[in-house]
Amino acid sequence: MNVVRLILGVLLALLVLGPLMMMISVSLNPDEAAINSILGTAKAFIPTALSTQNYQEVINDPYQPFVRYLFNTLFVTVCTVGLGVMVNSSAAFALAWGQGAYRKVYLAIIIAVFVIPGEGLLIPLILMMSRLGWLDTYQVQIVPFIASAFSVFLFYQFFSKLPAELIEAARIDGAHLPTIFLKIGLPLSKPVIATTAILGFLDMWNSYLWPSLVTRGVEFRPLSVAMAAFFSSQQSYWGNVTAFAVLMALPVIIVFLIFQRWFVASVVGSGVKG
C-alpha cells in the first residue's frame, strides 16, 4: 500500500515539477535552434547545457529593463503590503477595543463588502484615476489596494480574542488606545501580520489586470505585465522568455520556502473566511 502511495506521490511530483523543470532547463540553453528542435520532446525537461547567457541577455536588454520591472514590482508590493498591515490592523484594533456604539454597524459593513469582487470596480476606478492624473504612476498601483476589508476582518477576529484584562490594565495605567495598539496589540498579532502579508505579497506580485490597464511604458510597469509583453514580442526566443519567467518566479518560490508553514495556514484561512 505504501509503495502504491509512493508511486502516486512521484507521479504527482513529476506532474508539478515537470513544467517547472522544462522552464529551467530551456532557460539554461543558449542555443535557440537547439531549443526549437527539442522543445516538444522529453529532452526539453533535462538540462543539456548550463549557460547563463539567456539570463544575461534578459537582464541587460536595453528595451526591456528587467531590473527596472523587478524594482517596480518590489516597490509596489512592499509599499502596499507594509502600509496595508499598519492601516488595517489599527482600524481592526479600534473596532475590537474602542467604545463607540457604531462599531457593530461598521463591522457588518466590512463583512458585507467581502462579496464585491474587485473586478467589478475597475471601470469607475480607471475613470477616477484618469481624473486624478494618476495613470502610469506608482501610487495608482499602491493606494487603492492598501485598505482591505478582508484584512481588517482577520485582524479584528484576532484582536477581539485578546483578554480584556490586558487592555483594561493598560488603560488603568493611563495608556491611550493608540499606545495600547502599538505596544500590546501589534506585537502580539504576528501570525495575522504574516497571514495578511503573505496573501498580499502573492496578490500584488501576480497582479496583472489592473497594472495592464493603468501603466503605459516601461517606467512604472510591473514584472507581470512586462512578462506578458516580452512573451508576445519574443515568442520564438524560448531561451530568453523562460529565463525571464524563472527570474520572475524565483522570488515567490524563495518566500514560499521560508514562510511555508504560515503560507498553508493563510491560504486555508482565506478560503474558509473569504
Binding site: N2, R5, G9, L12, L15, V16, L17, L20, M22, M23, L39, G40, V87, N88, S90, A91, A94, G98, Q99, G100, Y106, V113, V115, I116, P117, E119, G120, L121, L122, P124, L125, I126, L127, S130, P144, A147, V152, E168, L177, P178, F181, N206, Y208, L209, S212, L223, S224, M227, A228, F231, A245, M248, A249, V252, Q260, F263, V264, V267, G271, V272
Partner: protein
C-alpha cells in the same frame, strides 16, 4: 473597573482604513451603479453625460458578444470546477495518508500556486505549441497524422485554458481539502474498519460525507474564481479564436476601457457583481446554516 477613553483616539486609528475603503471600494461601487445608467465615456464627451435609464442593460442583454462571453465563462466554470475539485480531492486524500516523503510531496504540490500566472502561461504556451509542442508530439505518438492547433481552435482553446488553469491553482483547493480531512474524527474510520469496510468503502461512508461543508465551500469559491477568468485568455488567446474564449471580465474591459464606453462597461460590471455576489451570498447562507 472601566476606564473611559477619548473617542477621538479610536476614530484616529480607524480613519486611514475607513477613508481608503470609502474612496476605493464603496465610492467606485456606487459609481459603477450610477454610471451604468449613463452614457459616460472615458474621454470627456463633447455633449454632457446624460442619464439613459436602462439603455445600457438593454443593449448588453441583446448583444450576442455578451451572451457569448457569458456562455464561455459558464462553460469554463462547468469544465474546470468538477475537474479541479476531483483532482484536488484525490491529491489531498493521497497526501493525508501516511507514506515515505509525504511532507516533501506536500511542499512540491503547493509550488504551482507560488508560480506567477504569467509564468505558468508561458510554460503552457510552449506545451501547446504548433506543430511540434509537447501535446502535439504526444498525440502524434498515439498515431495522429496531423497536429491540433490547441489555442487556435474554437473547440480546443477553452479545454486547453482549463487544463492550464487547473494545474496553476489546484493547490488552493487541495489545501482546503487537507484541512477538511483533518477535521474528520479518527473514531469514524475505526468504526468503519470494525464493520469491515475497505478503503474505497471508507471513502464513500466516512470521508466524503465528512467533507460535506468543505465540498460546498470549495465548489462555490472555485466557481467564483472561474467567473473571474481573465489573465489566461487575455495573454494566450486574446479571447479568440472568433470569441470562443472571451470571458465576462474581458468583455467588460473591452467595452469599458478599450472602447472607452464607461457607462456601458459599468453596466457589465454591475451584472458581473450581481452574478459573483449572488454566489458569495449563497455560500454564506449555506455554510452558516450548518
Amino acid at each position: 473597573m472601566r476606564v473611559r477613553q477619548p473617542i477621538g483616539e479610536e476614530l484616529l486609528l480607524l480613519a486611514p482604513a475607513t477613508v481608503l475603503l470609502i474612496l476605493f471600494l464603496l465610492l467606485p461601487f456606487a459609481m459603477s451603479i450610477y454610471l451604468s445608467f449613463t452614457d459616460q465615456r472615458l474621454v470627456p464627451n463633447p455633449v454632457p453625460t446624460a442619464l439613459v435609464g436602462f439603455d445600457n442593460y438593454r443593449a448588453i442583454l441583446t448583444d450576442p458578444a455578451f451572451w457569448q462571453a457569458f456562455r464561455n465563462t459558464a462553460y469554463f466554470a462547468l469544465l474546470v470546477v468538477p475537474f479541479q475539485c476531483a483532482l484536488s480531492l484525490a491529491i489531498a486524500v493521497l497526501l493525508n495518508s501516511s507514506f515515505p516523503l509525504r511532507s516533501f510531496f506536500r511542499s512540491v504540490a503547493i509550488l504551482p500556486l507560488m508560480t506567477p500566472m504569467t509564468v505558468v502561461i508561458v510554460i503552457w504556451a510552449a506545451f501547446y505549441r504548433i506543430p511540434d509542442g509537447l501535446f502535439n508530439n504526444i498525440i502524434k505518438a498515439f498515431g495522429a497524422s496531423t497536429y491540433v492547433d490547441w489555442l487556435g481552435s474554437p473547440v480546443w482553446a477553452m479545454p486547453a485554458i482549463v487544463l492550464l488553469s487547473a494545474w496553476a491553482t489546484f493547490p488552493f483547493q487541495m489545501l482546503l481539502y487537507l484541512a477538511g480531512l483533518q477535521d474528520i474524527p479518527h473514531e469514524r474510520y475505526e468504526a468503519a474498519r470494525i464493520d469491515g469496510a475497505n478503503g474505497w468503502q471508507q471513502f464513500w461512508a466516512v470521508t466524503f460525507p465528512g467533507l460535506r461543508n468543505t465540498n460546498i465551500l470549495i465548489l462555490i469559491t472555485t466557481t467564483i474564481q472561474a467567473f473571474k477568468l481573465f489573465t489566461q485568455v487575455d495573454i494566450l488567446t486574446r479571447g479568440g479564436p472568433v470569441g470562443s474564449t472571451n470571458t465576462l471580465v474581458r468583455y467588460m474591459i473591452q467595452q469599458g476601457y478599450t472602447s472607452q464606453l464607461v457607462g456601458y462597461g459599468s453596466a457589465v460590471a454591475v451584472i458581473f457583481v450581481l452574478i459573483v455576489g449572488a454566489l458569495a451570498i449563497f455560500q454564506r447562507v449555506v455554510v452558516k446554516n450548518e
